[in-house]
């Protein structure tokens, strides 16, 4: 046996794709970074040259300055942090209640025929409706206080989590279920030890989608009826043509959404490291 040559061949075969994979990874990041820098440069150029009036698009430095002012002194009786906190509190509450209820509902839909018959059409009926379309009804029922906003976000987040959970439960590997059954698992033990962990990657994907939907819904809801929050800040600034606050608000909204998405991806990698592994 030519045991001398094999390791060399193997090393060659494995090291090459890794190197090129790393290169491709870096260059993609570079492209993204350069795109961002180019956009900022164009923004700066068109505003500095006076091509676009500050009323329509303030310069990057003006927006930054305004950001400092907002963070320290505030806008419409609240600082940027207070607006941000108001928005985050709403989405946090909505998300918390949605996870607490949608996951059990999704498990029930996925694992029980009767629950599927009852709940599946209900969710599929309201899910396609844009949340802003039923916001007026919620306002009539619950007023314009915090409750209606949290309820709206809750409803927006609930459906994607419940549907993703049900899908995860329905696609549990039958061999794993049978393995647990032949080790003596009861129905409750099957759910706890096999079904829920199996569905966890799907549940987390549902939360990611739900959080995205919820965040856009929240900001839109604050545009309509609120006295605080990032959406409200942008909307009221627009009414007084304070464009730098509008731009700043939009950037903060985008940054928060991006941070939440990245955070959830990191959480997914940490909680379900086996996802995507050949097991």
């Amino acid at each position: 046996m030519s045991s001398y040559e094999i390791p060399a061949v193997v090393r060659d075969a494995t090291s090459k794709p890794t190197a090129s994979g790393l290169k491709a990874h870096l260059s993609t990041r570079w492209i993204s970074g350069l795109t961002l820098i180019a956009l900022l440069a164009i923004w700066w150029a068109v505003t500095a040259s006076g091509l676009i009036e500050p009323l329509f698009l303030p310069s990057p430095s003006a927006v930054l300055e305004k950001g400092w002012l907002l963070a320290t002194r505030g806008y419409m009786d609240s600082t940027l942090w207070q607006h941000l906190a108001a928005s985050l509190e709403r989405i946090g509450l909505g998300l918390l209640f949605a996870v607490l209820t949608a996951v059990p509902v999704g498990i029930a839909i996925g694992a029980n025929r009767i629950a599927r018959g009852v709940l599946d059409p209900l969710i599929e009926f309201y899910r396609p409706i844009p949340p802003l379309a039923y916001l007026p009804l919620i306002v009539i029922w619950c007023g314009i206080g915090e409750l209606s906003k949290v309820l709206l976000i809750y409803l927006a987040i609930f459906a994607p989590i419940a549907i993703a959970t049900a899908t995860g439960v329905r696609t549990v590997d039958r061999a794993k279920l049978r393995a647990a059954q032949s080790l003596g698992a009861t129905r409750a033990q099957l759910i706890r030890h096999v079904i829920v962990p199996s569905a966890l990657p799907d549940i987390l994907t549902g939360i990611r989608i739900g959080l995205g939907v919820g965040w856009s819904t929240l900001v839109a809801a604050e545009l309509i009826a609120a006295t605080s929050g990032l959406g409200f800040m942008v909307q009221s600034a627009a009414q007084f043509l304070v464009t730098d606050v509008v731009v700043l608000g939009i950037l903060v909204i985008a940054l928060i959404a991006f941070a939440m998405e990245m955070g959830l991806r990191a959480l997914q990698r940490k909680l379900v490291p086996w996802h995507g592994q050949p097991h």
Binding site: D173, A179, Q181, S182, H193, W274, H279
Partner: protein, 264 residues
């Protein structure tokens, strides 16, 4: 004295016109390693699923220690073809999973799991994640997991079918060693003729349309391995080759008898 007994078992999938298994009777006693060998469609997986309790027979009765089998249960341990391990747990927790379900205290079940891992030559792999294991290692963990729950019989569903030829040979020898040490009755299904002849103390040959037993053999090659003879020496023994060819001829004669149109 039979431990596991199948009396005139038939099975049919819902909606199907032809049964997958017809009139199967067999027994599995202590110190037996019963291998069901057959081509695809001969109903061998269905037979195992019936014994495991995953599906119910349409006729006949299965008893274990005289008690009718109803649904899956811990007294019939199963090793699956595609390991069916839980990737969110490490190897030790996977092996101790059956004991955890039974409410055994953590220390006791971990000690037992370590013992079983040592039995399948995987000592030192306790903290590994499932996806870090090779195919053969996963099957060893699957075997250790089934044994840790101390079942009355061990059912093996083509356990080495997805492994490469070299690993399969090693696993066959490992199985014989484990079987001798634990003295568990084993029911194993396979489509690999050499594997069947090598492992079995008792071999049943299944033929399709509908699944039925067409041959029963008592063999001693596994025992010879247990007595110290090497696997290669057994498998190259003229008597082994003769048995293997006899079984092979039987499979083909059954095929041409039941499906003449497929001969051309």
């Amino acid at each position: 004295m039979a431990l596991l007994q199948l009396e005139r078992i038939s099975a049919q999938y819902p909606g199907a016109t032809e049964p997958v298994l017809a009139d199967i009777s067999l027994t599995l006693g202590p110190k037996q390693l019963l291998v069901a060998l057959g081509p695809s469609g001969s109903g061998k997986t269905s037979l195992l699923n019936l014994i495991a309790g995953f599906v119910e027979p349409s006729a006949g009765q299965i008893t274990l220690d005289g008690t009718p089998v109803k649904g899956p249960g811990a007294e019939r341990g199963v090793v699956f073809q595609d390991d069916a391990l839980l990737p969110w747990q490490d190897v030790l927790a996977n092996v101790g999973f059956g004991l955890e379900l039974a409410g055994v205290a953590k220390q006791t079940r971990e000690a037992r799991a370590r013992e079983m891992l040592a039995l399948v030559d995987l000592a030192g792999f306790e903290q590994r994640r499932v996806w870090q294991l090779s195919g053969g290692q996963k099957q060893r963990v699957g075997l250790a997991r089934a044994l840790a729950a101390d079942p009355r019989v061990l059912l093996m569903d083509e356990p080495f079918g997805a492994l490469d030829a070299f690993t399969r040979e090693q696993m066959q020898e490992l199985l014989l060693q484990v079987w001798q040490r634990t003295a568990k009755p084993v029911f194993l299904i396979t489509h690999d003729i050499e594997e069947a002849v090598f492992l079995a103390t008792d071999l049943i040959l299944l033929a399709p349309d509908p699944g039925q037993i067409v041959e029963r053999l008592s063999l001693d090659f596994g025992q010879r391995y247990g007595a110290g003879e090497s696997a290669r020496s057994i498998k190259s023994d003229p008597r082994f080759i003769e048995t293997r060819e006899h079984v092979l001829a039987k499979v083909f004669s059954q095929r041409s008898a039941t499906r003449p149109q497929e001969r051309a």
